[in-house]
């Protein structure tokens, strides 16, 4: 993907089902070689957007570019470079896991030797090495999810689109999926991951778009989104024998916007979401203060997300 700035780009993308507008003039930009989270509550329009990206649905209006190519209608060639795992994936029950990967690999034009080499590795990667010869009809929900991830990687895609990859997985499986997503991104691929699980997005994504009722509410790096939404991070520090000079020293720090004092406790409002506790404690110690306790108070992405969605509902929390 050398030279490609955006792996996904939509301009005023709109999709209507009768009177319902599922996606409303969505402008989405997913930078190449990033892990981009696509967040939103159920029914926000995430899956509809993804289905348009992979050619399952046709938009009513707007432009869709995937890996630099504008997609119009049934363009099979664009899909050669995409790996897609649908939400709660369903595969033909009569096929074994190995056969499924073999047939899908063939659809991508992989030669037989490459398929023979690739499939066992993928099965091992998703923990289905021992069950590859079993029919998919005998797989549990979690196993179907795992084979879904394997089939999305069979073609060594440049862009991996995962729609709610953790849905139906147990906690261990969810952690494994997150590790896998990171590993995919380390190989230089772009990962676009749709989720309604904020902690999942927080842990793996570098960029995030929040969508609600088909409208993009915010889209930026995870850091910037958190900063924009969460408001100032606040530190509460209790110092033995808190003096005015200590307060003044802390106030002069460039990332501090305000300091208030209540007895031996300082409340410090920060302009950054970086971890600056060690710098602050160094300054306090240099000024002769002894820190008794330190607490960070700030909104998590989850709190910010709920607030944002509530705002777009006209004050009602969803």
């Amino acid at each position: 993907m050398f030279g490609l700035e955006f792996a996904i780009e939509t301009i005023d993308l709109t999709k209507r089902y009768g009177h319902l507008t599922a996606v409303d003039k969505l402008n989405l930009r997913v930078k190449a070689n990033t892990i981009h989270g696509f967040l939103g509550p159920n029914g926000a329009g995430k899956t509809t957007t993804i289905k348009i990206l992979v050619g399952l649905l046709k938009p009513n209006e707007g432009i869709v570019k995937v890996l630099g190519q504008e997609t119009r209608g049934d363009n099979a060639d664009i899909r050669l470079k995409i790996g897609y795992m649908p939400e709660l994936p369903k595969f033909p029950k009569h096929l074994t896991g190995y056969e499924l990967l073999d047939i899908y690999g063939k659809m991508y034009g992989l030669p037989k030797t490459a398929r023979r080499e690739q499939i066992p590795k993928l099965l091992e990667m998703v923990g289905l090495k021992e069950r590859g010869r079993d029919r998919i009809g005998k797989y549990s929900k979690g196993m179907q999810q795992r084979i879904g991830i394997a089939q999305a990687l069979i073609n060594e895609p440049e862009l991996v689109i995962l729609d709610e990859p953790s849905l139906g997985l147990d906690p261990v499986g969810m952690v494994e999926v997150r590790e896998l997503v990171k590993a995919i991104a380390e190989e230089g691929k772009t990962v676009f991951i749709s989720s309604h699980l904020l902690f999942e997005v927080e842990q793996v994504c570098s960029h995030v778009t929040i969508i609600h009722r088909g409208v993009s509410l915010v889209s930026d790096t995870l850091q910037n989104v958190s900063n924009k939404l969460s408001g100032p991070t606040t530190l509460q520090i209790e110092v033995a024998k808190l003096s005015d000079s200590i307060v003044e020293t802390v106030k002069r720090l460039p990332f501090v916007s305000n300091v208030s004092q209540d007895g031996n406790t300082m409340t410090i409002e920060l302009e950054t979401r970086d971890d600056v506790r060690s710098q602050i404690s160094q300054e306090i110690t240099k000024s002769g203060g002894v820190i008794v306790s330190m607490n960070v108070k700030g909104q998590s992405l989850e709190e910010a997300f709920i607030q944002l969605v509530a705002k777009s509902h006209g004050g009602k929390t969803v």
């Binding site: 289905k51 399952l56 649905l57 099979a76 899909r79 990667m125 073609n155």
Partner: protein, 321 residues
């Protein structure tokens, strides 16, 4: 899940490789379907019954079984067989993918919808050709054992071709209903309704109406007539009952090759008068060549029209679930 470093693989991308992948996908589905396997077992059971029943009956009545050198060439799945084979092969080919949700994974692979559609059709063709070939081999070997040496076995490929054309008329109808409704049940019931309506109405229209010609333009058995074969060896002139619809292309093809200048005469039953014998009225006669050509043209037209409807519906279908 273990993150394993994988070597970048090179892909070759000829469309034919992708097409074969779709064919393999569908073939595996077809041959592992319980209803298809059940249908094959039923077909073999009927073929076995057709071979063994006359032997049992002749033994019971104490008469030796006469030789029948045309047994193999004249046997086939029949109208109901064609319909049922079509039904079990394609009733969920497209609609089943939508119902089970597997369409999502399939259509997000680098295969166009047209390729998926053609791949599914080709797989149905291979499955039917293989099944009919094995059935014919079974009938030919069985027929030779029971009725003695068989004639005109070189015409078997034509019989297979005719039977496949007949089956494909129903395949096109079933697929079209399935693609439009996205429901295997509606595809099965809708096609069965059409089949049974024509199956029952055809002999009634043929026997009692002056308008039997209409039947030559609808799928199924068509109008019934009599084939008059002149100069049939030592027997001079013989007559043979024939049906003229899309389900009888194979039989009429063989008849045409064996008796190219014969005619088909159509009759109807006259008004019933108490105390009088049944009145058979001759309506009209046509050369067998015309009957064969027309039924083939009608079959091909139905196949093309319904397959186009089916392809168009599939091509435009949005995957909502």
């Amino acid at each position: 899940m273990n993150a394993i470093k994988r070597k970048r693989v090179k892909t070759n991308r000829p469309r034919i490789t992708r097409f074969w992948a779709v064919v393999k996908y569908e073939l595996l589905w077809n041959i592992r379907k319980k209803k298809f396997l059940g249908m094959v077992i039923v077909a073999f059971a009927f073929a076995t019954l057709g071979l063994t029943l006359p032997v049992i009956l002749s033994n019971m009545i104490g008469q030796p079984l006469s030789q029948n050198p045309d047994y193999a060439i004249s046997s086939g799945a029949g109208a109901l067989g064609f319909f049922l084979f079509a039904l079990v092969t394609v009733m969920n080919s497209i609609s089943g993918e939508f119902e089970s949700g597997t369409i999502v994974s399939l259509l997000t692979k680098p295969v166009s919808r047209t390729m998926v559609f053609l791949g599914k059709l080709f797989a149905a063709f291979i499955v039917l050709l293989s099944t009919y070939t094995v059935l014919f081999l079974y009938t030919t070997i069985g027929g030779t054992l029971v009725y003695g040496p068989q004639n005109n076995l070189h015409l078997v490929p034509l019989t297979l071709l005719g039977n496949i054309i007949s089956t494909f008329v129903w395949i096109a109808i079933v697929l079209a209903i399935g693609s439009l409704s996205k429901s295997s049940l509606i595809a099965a019931l809708g096609a069965f309704g059409i089949f049974i309506a024509l199956f029952i109405s055809a002999p009634i229209v043929s026997a009692f109406s002056d308008q039997a010609w209409i039947l030559t333009y609808v799928p199924g058995n068509g109008a019934s007539g009599t084939l008059k074969i002149i100069n049939h060896g030592d027997q001079g002139i013989i007559t043979k009952s024939v049906s003229t619809g899309t389900d009888n292309i194979a039989a009429n093809l063989i008849n045409y090759i064996l008796y190219p200048s014969s005619n088909v005469t159509f009759f109807k039953i006259g008004a019933f008068t108490p105390g009088q014998p049944l009145q058979i009225i001759e309506l009209y006669a046509e050369p067998l060549s015309l009957v064969l050509l027309r039924s083939t043209a009608v079959a091909v037209t139905y196949i093309l029209v319904f397959l186009f409807i089916s392809w168009f519906a599939f091509k435009r279908a949005e995957v909502l679930e």
